[in-house]
């Protein structure tokens, strides 16, 4: 008699019924990214949703500032309204560092293009100082600054923010990351920053100082050695 009460088929099993209710297609949601963040993860979320290269989305958002600065408002509204991705992809510490480096590189390149276009337009007389980055009455900028301050203050400490990389004690010219004599690559490794940035700064400074900075470059070439071949590893 007891055996008759036990359900035999799968349909009678309560847990199987729950399992059958799972949708076969995962719905795509527009949400802020959890892993790929520079400010709030809106651009990464949009890129993932539209299946576009995230770097391109970031570049477009930066360049849209030229249209009057309204994209900042749209961005802030999106950041406030969009939910954050519930479960992010698992990324190792190295992946996170690499991604961060590339993200800042994208932002830097975007800022360079943006400033170039802005000052180019100004030189050509297409735009003037008043009509770009529209901030009426001069009140929006202070308010945004306060908002940025409050936002930064509200960020909680994470393990990722604590750097564990030990700094190198000696400065060498780089063998792997070099275009000419490896001074900039070595400096970038010593300071733990991007070598392209150091190169750009070096070129601009050389131009601005009538080539005096080139002398400094060659002083560094003369006084420093290349890194020892076996021990040097460029950080990923």
């Amino acid at each position: 008699m007891e055996d008759q009460n036990i359900p035999n088929s799968n349909e009678d099993n309560f847990f199987d019924k729950i399992d059958n209710t799972k949708p076969s297609v995962i719905l795509k949601r527009l949400q802020r990214s959890r892993n790929n963040i520079i400010i709030t993860g809106v651009c990464a979320g949009l890129g993932e949703y539209l299946k576009i290269d995230i770097a391109k989305v970031r570049l477009v958002v930066l360049l849209s500032l030229l249209l009057g600065g309204w994209s900042i408002t749209v961005y802030l509204i999106a950041a406030a309204l969009l939910p954050r991705e519930s479960i992010g992809d698992y990324l190792s510490e190295n992946d996170v560092l690499l991604m961060k480096k590339e993200n800042y590189r994208t932002v830097l390149s975007g800022l360079l293009i943006l400033s170039g276009l802005y000052f180019g337009f100004e030189l050509l007389g297409i735009r003037n100082n008043e009509s770009i980055f529209v901030l009426p009455d001069g009140f929006i900028f202070p308010v945004m600054t306060i908002a940025a301050g409050v936002y930064l203050f509200s960020i909680k400490e994470t393990q990722q923010s604590i750097r564990t990389v030990k700094l190198t004690q000696n400065y060498f010219r780089s063998r792997k990351d070099k275009l000419f004599m490896g001074v900039c690559g070595g400096l970038a490794y010593y300071i733990k920053t991007d070598s392209s940035l150091i190169r750009i700064i070096m070129v601009i400074l050389t131009l601005l100082t009538l080539g005096l900075f080139a002398i400094i470059y060659f002083v560094l070439v003369l006084l420093t050695n290349y890194e020892p071949e076996s021990t040097f590893e460029f950080p990923k």
């Binding site: 306060i146 301050g149 923010s161 560094l220």
Partner: protein, 168 residues
């Protein structure tokens, strides 16, 4: 940027916003340049201490440049400078010299940074004295004029190059 630096930046931004709002509301009579200068100096001094303690060379460099920019903003706000382009040449040399000196102070074992540091600071002093007499400013002004016209294009080219060469 670590957690503590974020907090310092947050406080400075908050203060900056509040002071700007007070200025816009005519409650404070101080120029925007001065406010920016003071806030930048405050931020850079605190961050410099933090970065020095935590061996953050990239932040040390950034903050050194920022501090001197803040000083320049304050000077600009309070003193009329006739030859604005001339000061750029001197400032570039002085700021880059200071950066090398800071790198040397952070790691005194690397005496190599002291050489360009001292050289650049001496050169920056010379630009205001001997170089001026030699007429080098005439050349720098010419180059500055050229650079002033073409630098947006230089920026765009650098930006595009960086964007194209990014790792996908």
């Amino acid at each position: 940027m670590n957690f503590r630096n974020k907090k310092i930046l947050a406080v400075c931004l908050f203060l900056y916003g509040i002071i700007l709002l007070l200025k816009k509301s005519y409650l404070l009579n101080i120029s925007v340049e001065s406010i920016t200068g003071y806030v930048i100096i405050l931020y850079s001094l605190i961050t410099f201490y933090q970065a020095f303690k935590n061996e953050r060379r990239e932040i040390l460099i950034f903050v050194t440049i920022l501090f001197l920019t803040g000083v320049e903003l304050l000077v600009n706000a309070n003193i009329d400078i006739y030859d604005a382009r001339g000061i750029v040449f001197t400032s570039v040399l002085f700021v880059s010299g200071s950066v090398f000196i800071v790198l040397f102070l952070e790691n005194t074992k690397e005496k190599i940074f002291a050489v360009p540091g001292i050289t650049l600071i001496i050169l920056s002093y010379l630009t205001t004295t001997i170089f001026k007499k030699l007429g080098i400013f005439y050349l720098t002004n010419k180059i500055a004029n050229l650079f002033g016209f073409f630098w947006p294009a230089v920026l765009i080219i650098f930006g595009i190059t960086m964007f194209i060469n990014r790792k996908k």
